[in-house]
């Protein structure tokens, strides 16, 4: 396993998020370094997805801030966050179901391309070239996640595993520095999980830092360089998987006293 670059890519400081009387996130701080695979684990309702939504601009935190690649992104609109280099997938797969796989990935190129209405109407040289490069890149990405053959399939008709892969390809199309995956292995069988793990390692090998929410302990422990554990909106442990696994607090809160 490659040693992670020690420079911080994402620095989360004292994030707090409340929904009415419920505190979903309480004083959560963590640091993700460039090039690592960082796992976020915790029981259901611990606030993992809430943290994702804060980091991707869908929620504005009540207090605290986070800095990504040296820029304070707190309270920014989602499209600004994507522009800065954070892309995400969703727990309950949110593809553009009636578009083809290729079109889905082409939408992902939106943020890195510029053609406007006028260019489209006049079909200028620049627009046509850009459109071609969007299509080419989208095809490459489908091949990259090994669903190139499904390019023209309607995305809602893809198998579950392929839909997950497509969502990753679509997120990669935005050229992220940090790819945030919300339970990518959910609903996958053992073979698919193994393939997913290989894919994620390949993505990391190509210079993308990964943030991963996952319930599959085996996957997290095998894949992640470091993990943080959330419980009732608080970070109760952080560190290398082996160390966290033995943390008595974690054992009590999350793993229910017994380890696999």
């Amino acid at each position: 396993m490659t040693a992670a670059d020690p420079s911080p890519l994402l620095e989360v400081r004292h994030i707090e998020k409340r929904f009415g009387g419920l505190t979903a996130l309480a004083d959560v701080s963590l640091t993700i370094r460039s090039g690592e695979i960082y796992g976020l684990i915790g029981p259901n309702g611990a606030g993992k997805t809430t943290l994702f939504n804060v980091l991707t601009g869908l929620y504005v935190p009540d207090s605290g801030e986070f800095e990504f690649a040296g820029r304070n992104l707190c309270g920014q609109k989602p499209y600004r966050v994507v522009e800065s280099g954070i892309a995400r997938t969703f727990q309950n797969i949110r593809l553009f179901g009636n578009m083809t796989a290729l079109e889905n990935v082409m939408v992902g190129r939106h943020v890195r391309t510029r053609a406007g209405a006028l260019g489209a109407i006049l079909r200028t040289r620049g627009t046509r070239d850009e459109e071609q490069s969007i299509r080419r890149r989208a095809k490459e990405l489908l091949d990259y996640v090994a669903i190139g053959r499904q390019a023209n399939a309607v995305s809602k008709n893809l198998s579950y595993g392929d839909q997950r892969r497509l969502e990753i390809a679509r997120a990669l199309a935005t050229e992220p520095k940090l790819l945030a995956l919300d339970e990518p292995a959910a609903g996958m069988n053992a073979t698919e999980r193994l393939e997913l793990r290989r894919l994620l390692e390949k993505i990391r090998g190509d210079g993308v830092t990964l943030l991963l929410i996952e319930h599959d302990v085996k996957l997290v422990m095998g894949l992640c360089d470091r993990v943080a554990v959330l419980d009732y909106g608080k970070k109760i442990a952080e560190g290398e998987p082996a160390a966290v696994q033995k943390d008595p607090e974690v054992v009590r809160a999350y793993l229910g006293g017994a380890l696999p």
């Binding site: 991707t56 601009g57 869908l58 609109k77 989602p78 499209y79 994507v82 522009e83 892309a87 995400r88 969703f90 949110r94 593809l95 553009f96 179901g97 009636n98 578009m99 079109e103 082409m106 939408v107 992902g108 190129r109 939106h110 943020v111 890195r112 391309t113 053609a115 406007g116 209405a117 260019g119 489209a120 109407i121 079909r123 627009t127 850009e130 459109e131 969007i134 309607v154 809602k156 008709n157 198998s159 579950y160 679509r170 997120a171 199309a173 935005t174």
Partner: protein, 363 residues
Amino acid sequence: MGGFTAELERLRKHRYAPWIGLACIVVALLVLPFVLASVGTAWVRITNLAILFALLSLGLNIVVGFAGLLDLGYIAFYAVGAYCYALLASPHFGLHLPFWVILPIGAAVACLFGVLLGAPTLKLRGDYLAIVTLGFGEIVRIFLNNLSQPVNITNGPQGVTLIDPFRIGPLNFSKTDIFAGLSFSGPIKYYYLLLIVLVVVIVINLRLQKSRLGRAWVAIREDEVAAQAMGINTRNVKLLAFAMGASFGGVAGGIFSATQGFISPESFVFVESIMVLSMVVLGGMGNIWGVILGAVLLSFVPELLRYTVEPAQKAVFGRMLIEPEVIRMLLFGLALVLMMLYRPAGLWPSKTRKREFEEADQE
């Protein structure tokens, strides 16, 4: 028989087949007004109105069909364009600007109104957006009805009369000219002009649909949160849909003003918005050709009824039992119910839209 179909199939696959087909359509469209004029000039006017509605439907198709924003007040932009033309080219203010100056102004003002409607409704979806747009359409009409006091701007319910026709140099669109032995009446000239505008609008629509922007619209319609997460600035992209749809409405309104020579707020009632929306839905949301089909059908069928129902009833019953207008609404309702039952995606839907009504292949 078998040999004939095989021959037909071979012709269909021929390299030049699409071009020959296109040439046939072009010739048919060029000859059409003269054929119609021989039946009656009224039919040329009806055709012109059908093309105007096709323009409106194509504009609304951007908002509803592509971006999925239900707009029930679209006729307001038509009204804005029409009044822009009427006020800048009539004795009402004594202004007589040429049409090629006013049409861009009309488009720009309608575009501004589009943004005006779009900006406060960005966060609304579905039913809520529909209610606000409905209100907007009514507000514009009521303003037009009442802006005769304290300063007379719109001349209130009486409307604006004596609106200038289009003029290109010596060519006056309200007079009949004889070219090469053919009599070009006013409506026929407008027909050709409308045809050119329609072709331009179709090309713009087709190009937008296949562009980065077109994809962003469809993405927003499919899943707005995911679209945001893909880096689409949903605010700007939605506003652009409203603005572009509105400006098409504005241009159509300007031409409407010129062809009629008279407009009043009566022409821009809520039912007209519903009519245009029905054309889009009936034809097939999101598909340019479907939308045009819807506009042509809903413009022509009522007129055909008007000309057939009355004689038919007189022949059968000896007198009129049901007014053509009543039958029109009955058939219209029946058509919509049948559509919802048998072709919910429209007569000629877009591929993406059609898929929405199909279950996913898997569980």
